[in-house]
Symmetry: C2
Subunit: 157 residues, 2 copies
DNA sequence: CTCCAGTTGACACCAAGTCTCATTCGGTGA
DNA sequence: TCACCGAATGAGACTTGGTGTCAACTGGAG
């Protein structure tokens, strides 16, 4: 997992300024252990109620969206699609990876193996397409939600 | 490819009424050879300009969204994600399939081979998740757009 | 310390999709 | 054929998620 320092270094390396709002977004983003939406971040550190931890400044909606876009372009964040179809972000190590997301609690587990990389040559040959990119998300139920579901089924209210 | 009759039969089989707006949506949907968005359909057969073919009735936005949802739930339509991240629909034969979509012109080609079905057992074992569903889209450039791109590169304005 | 370009926050705007509700209509039973 | 009933419809307000604009601010180089 990346640290705040590392992310800040990446930003500076790419010519982005290190501002307080950006630091706050980075800190918030690193605090999430599961996928979060831009709007969640807006309601956490933008305007509204506190829970900010450090300063009392509120961060603009546009700034949050812009910063997320920058972090995603630097591969600090991965953009993924939630089971409900909405886009979300998740922060984990660098590199190409996909996620398996729990439909109940939203927990995401990354896996680095990408079946598309194997499939691509065949697919390119069969369809004559030049393959540039792909989108892969797997949805299911995580171990702890499975336990909850079984418990609920065994002892219905 | 399904016919209008077949789709109407599927609707009736599942207890849905066969109404004029639904028939119009089905007809419009079957007319598309590439992915279309709900909003495209709204501007085609809802309100606005004609091009309706048969009757001059305009179909409500809500009705179109509702009908698309029904058709998708009956597997008549497949819901997919466009290169720009927006959801779209495509109408092809029944059954589980994925699409490779051209980032330039939007042409989609289906492929029935699903790498996730092979990957699922391993993934379930490694992550302890119970796998229920997945989302896979491949993006690239179709043969004709490749030709266009090469022609444009060879003879720049 | 000064300066300036990058960045910010506020807010208007837009697009896509959902919700509500009075009205309409398809299909069934008489 | 007709009446009836509940599903379906259309209009439009509303919600949600995201973008664009612009004056003011600020990090950091000199």
């Amino acid at each position: 997992m990346l640290t705040k320092r590392q992310v800040e270094a990446i930003l500076v390396q790419h010519g982005y300024r290190l501002t307080q709002p950006r630091a706050a977004v980075v800190e918030a983003v690193l605090g999430y252990t599961r996928p979060f939406t831009a709007e969640q971040l807006v309601s956490n550190i933008g305007g509204g109620s506190g829970g900010n931890g450090g300063n009392g400044r509120s961060i603009g909606r546009a700034t949050i969206y812009r910063t997320l876009e920058i972090l995603a372009s630097l591969d600090v964040l991965t953009r993924l699609i939630q089971p409900d179809g909405h886009p979300a972000y998740i922060c984990d190590s660098l590199g190409h990876r996909h996620h398996i997301v729990c439909s109940d609690c939203g927990t995401a587990v990354a896996f680095t193996f990408c079946p598309i990389q194997e499939l691509a040559p065949t697919l390119a040959r069969d369809t004559a397409f030049e393959i540039h990119d792909h989108l892969l998300e797997v949805f299911g139920v995580c171990p702890s939600c499975q336990v909850v579901a079984k418990t609920a089924a065994a002892a219905p209210a």
